[in-house]
Symmetry: C3
Subunit: 153 residues, 3 copies
Amino acid sequence: MSNVDSRLAELGVTLPTAPAPAANYVPFVIVGDLVFVSGQISMNENGLITGKVGVDLDVAAGAAAARTCAIGLLAQVKAACDGDFDRLVRVVKLTGFVNSSPDFTDQPEVVNGASDFLVDVLGDAGRHSRSAVSAGALPRDVAVEIEGIFQIR
Amino acid sequence: MSNVDSRLAELGVTLPTAPAPAANYVPFVIVGDLVFVSGQISMNENGLITGKVGVDLDVAAGAAAARTCAIGLLAQVKAACDGDFDRLVRVVKLTGFVNSSPDFTDQPEVVNGASDFLVDVLGDAGRHSRSAVSAGALPRDVAVEIEGIFQIR
Amino acid sequence: MSNVDSRLAELGVTLPTAPAPAANYVPFVIVGDLVFVSGQISMNENGLITGKVGVDLDVAAGAAAARTCAIGLLAQVKAACDGDFDRLVRVVKLTGFVNSSPDFTDQPEVVNGASDFLVDVLGDAGRHSRSAVSAGALPRDVAVEIEGIFQIR
């Protein structure tokens, strides 16, 4: 895991400063060796990535949106590890919520944008259990929201 | 945490008798120091709080409904602690499902009704990781359903 | 728990070979004594069970679909236990997502198809905390997707 920061640099990914939610919840909670990370919404340096996948965004754009959620998760995990990715053992679980119309059926391909990114960065430690479903709607009309559970040391 | 019961009294909140689900699932399961609490649906002494937020209820009414879910979660956690809130270490994670139309985007403001209540009652121990999404529909047409993970000693 | 395999045989249930997802996620992750199992979609020997409950399937057909998700969960848990069900301590948590129209309100009755099956097979060890909600849509238009957390030894 010691090369996570360099791998991110290779991929040209700059982790955002882990944003703190503006409410009475927090970005992550650590219990024992588990880190529960709050749902991360699709956004990049230009702002929120919004719209319903299958209507406003195609599957590829949805997957790109999901990738930004994974970047947000990694930023929070790094904060949970006090900046030291060597403390990250593995990704345990992702739950991916896709903002879509009722007839959309490619949730797995969308959430793969997050799964593929995590394995690309973390290798086998990035492999995780997962659920991928549609939400009826998402906060601020974001395209994707993904929460995660991670194991740290 | 020793003042949870008195703080609830100050707020005029009476915890309901933790209702047992009428099926082959149970209100909570304890594993180690984690308590997994079943999804609690919006209800008060007058019955279920139903309808779609953004259509039948406004955001404030949705937040009030979410608050009742948090009251239900606390009732279950108290039962998990054999009635002793001193055993509650913290709220770990909430997942809030809002019954809404597809164009609703204020899920965070709705679920804040639960988050704010928990911090009001528990202080910093009430801060938690969280996801807030819309469900396409919810049981009995309730406005909000929230599940939770808690740490106890 | 030593009679799980014989109980499954009594019920005429053959666990499928635990299918491995075709992506960068895995069927389950073990952390300590917890097993996080990926969302299992409704399917049987004839293929996927698809459609929206309340529109294309009635509640009984939805419950039958949920039962197949539970069978998939058990298959994965057996794999997590290296084939030895004696290592299964209990079912901790299920989250059931029902593919339904926005006016559907019988999610609990649908997910009971999974809950009842698990208690039928595992007895008290099958009792679990649970959430049952509708998803706006599900992968491949399956009727039900259920994820689970299990405790093993």
